[in-house]
Symmetry: C2
Subunit: 428 residues, 2 copies
């Protein structure tokens, strides 16, 4: 960490390097670094809590606040300094993805240091929060808006996601590592079993899934637990992929994929399940989601929601929300309760798997880096940089507790057929 390789980007996981093509740096006529540039660089460091980071400017000047900085941020032009000063949360991503700033050494460690600085600086003050809302109000809401937001992300191409997700069930959600030395394939299968056991799935149960991704969970439930699944998703690419897979596996009589919004769910089911959709729903729609669940669950029905969350309400990182996940909003538990409480559902079990998501993301990032040249061919260098930052930043957010991962099991209040303890989850 911290070793200078000024012409190279270091891949945090694989350690491999590649030359940065000048195309991706924005060539600017640079005047000499002046006192104001130096002041700006210091001010940026102060804004993020004076972390153990130094800034290397375009003429080789080194700006530092702490005596022995652990890592280095290279800033290639004056305008980049302005951006970082104005709105570091958003512009760091913009500048990193266009190679106008870069990090020497491990990117995840760098971002963890930043999160630590922000926490110490007590960034979460009301003024800052209000400013972020004005700048970066997320774009959620309508049926049409949701469709657009989801297609932005999940229609990138199935081939792209196949490069770095697990090969077992193509799960783009947090895996579960009952033991930390599992492969990502094993951990994703363990996650699928974990949620099925939490729901006590029985052969013949009818299950409705909201937000089914590439359909892996629906197929898994049908195949291993003998249930009938109706799975809703608004990403047309994912629906096509899901249907094809189900056909190949001979599961078309047990799994039905519906290209529609969760708000249009029809029918009555024993079980409601949603893994990794709530992040895209938006808190103003939680009461409506609760009504949808209330409308589709049978009298003694039960359900599970698996979602990224937070320790307290706050916005997603502004750059991720704008460039990677439009409309994403990870809720706090208090916010999530708007799904359950107005409908009198009984919350039975909440598990926080934060560190499991950090580990899952490490697995994804390692594979992403291993397939970097293929990703670059599919898209371009900016895309590679942006996605690397997104994956690395997510690792840091989970290890630094900026984000949580909640699995919530609930049931209708009337349901007394509850497992006597949670021991059955751990006896396989």
């Amino acid at each position: 960490m911290g070793a200078s390789e000024s012409q190279h980007l270091v891949h945090p996981q694989s350690g491999s390097t590649h030359a940065v093509a000048p195309l991706y740096t924005k060539p600017t006529t640079q005047s000499e670094v002046n006192a104001f540039d130096r002041w700006m660089a210091s001010k940026i460091l102060q804004t993020v809590g004076s972390p153990s980071i130094c800034i290397l400017l375009w003429d080789g000047s080194l700006i530092q606040i702490q005596p022995h900085p652990a890592t280095t941020l290279v800033v290639n032009d004056r305008n980049a300094l302005w951006g970082l000063l104005y709105d570091p949360e958003f512009y760091f991503g913009e500048l990193y993805a266009t190679a106008r700033v870069r990090v020497e050494g491990d990117l995840v460690s760098f971002l963890e240091i930043v999160y630590d600085g922000l926490r110490r600086a007590g960034r979460r003050n009301p003024m800052y929060e209000a400013l972020q809302w004005v700048r970066h109000r997320p774009r959620f809401n309508s049926l049409a808006g949701s469709r657009q937001n989801i297609q932005h992300h999940y229609n990138l191409s199935n081939a792209f996601y196949s490069l770095w997700l697990d090969r077992e069930a193509m799960q783009y959600t947090c895996a579960y590592y009952p033991s930390p030395d599992m492969t990502i394939e094993q951990a994703q299968v363990a996650k699928l079993h974990h949620v099925c056991r939490k729901l006590q799935l029985q052969p013949g149960d009818s299950v409705v899934e909201a937000g089914s991704g590439w359909g892996g969970l629906a197929r898994f439930m049908a195949q291993h637990y003998g249930v009938k699944v109706r799975a809703y998703n608004i990403s047309s690419e994912q629906i096509a992929f899901s249907r094809e897979k189900a056909k190949v596996m001979g599961l078309t009589d047990k799994v039905e994929y519906v290209e529609d919004d969760y708000r249009n769910i029809t029918g009555k089911y024993d079980v409601f399940i949603s893994v990794g959709m709530l992040e895209h729903v938006g808190p103003q729609n939680y009461t409506a989601l609760g009504q949808v669940i209330d409308g589709c669950l049978k009298e003694k029905g039960r359900g599970l929601i698996h979602s990224i969350g937070r320790n307290r309400p706050g916005l997603m990182n502004a750059w991720v929300e704008k460039r990677i996940f439009p409309g994403a909003y990870p809720p706090s538990l208090k916010e999530m309760m708007d799904i359950f409480e107005p409908n009198g559902f009984s919350v039975l079990d909440v598990e926080n798997l934060r560190l499991h998501y950090a580990k899952t993301l490490e697995g994804w990032l390692a594979r992403f880096n291993a397939h970097e040249s293929q990703v670059r061919e599919m898209f371009d260098e900016n895309f590679v940089l942006a996605w690397r930052l997104y994956l690395a930043g997510s690792i840091a957010a989970f290890t630094m507790s900026e984000l949580q991962l909640f699995q919530i099991v609930f049931a209708r209040a009337e349901n007394n057929a509850l497992p006597w303890s949670r021991a059955h989850l751990y006896q396989q």
Copy 2:
């Protein structure tokens, strides 16, 4: 169930009977049952959702709505009918405790039928809720008020509680039955281990306990997990009992009992624990409680709160709040989050043990009934009736999901020394 024994009260668990002394029925000059009395009785049944109950009036008239009523409520005078019509939730308790109404057959089953009726009637409508708030606003709030409320209940006498609580650790909170055939002593010990394991107590840890009852948990943690405990309680009877026990057990160097309010906790601790206190705190004090925890937890501290709760906000049964537990308010999870979220604590695990509390209460009620004559000698018949109703009503509230039991594990966001899964809770 339903068999008429007009001169006897049936003990729901033991099945034994005893004569109702006329002293405890309020003798009134009864005129003949008239059409208006019958209308009132029908109206009472309608108000609670037309349950499968008939009302037997003082002259032998039988009022029923359902064709084959499962159980019978005996109403001994006209004023009792007025009370039940005006505010059934409150006056049923008042009248039952003074033997002006009584239930033929099993009391718990009767109350479960009532809860079921109320649920079907959709009692939880805003008008009804508002009315209950006006009638029965709980008496929580100030330091002095808390002291008074708590002394009301817990200073009744240690001898009284010793009659029917477990003999192992005198736990007046929900036990944990990993297997349903455990005795109450085994289940209370299992509960104590369960919370200690959830907190991953290590020898040498410093623990602060808020609301320590008869001190059983504090002594157990010191004895079995080698931690140092400082336990706060405002019931002087309980503190005296706790100190005496600790002395006898030779634990005075490891356990300190402080007769003071949780708001006056001083010092810094690895662990915060509170089992069965939150019900008495009141939701308007949750943010302050969170600040107390924030103030007394070390940098990587962790904690557990065990409390009765609800599926959605609502008041405690009005009669229980007035006669048994002044100031009691079981919160919803959303309300509880005011303890954690403003202080950025990370909620790690929520377990709902509702049916375990029903089982615990069944054990208590059976012992209470077995020691009925001793209780009557200590107090009087009204007390016996009131406490039987309170215990039976609590069983029904938990089996019918009117009440929940939440154990919440939390930690400072910075704490990454988390167990990799919850399997360790189930491997002993």
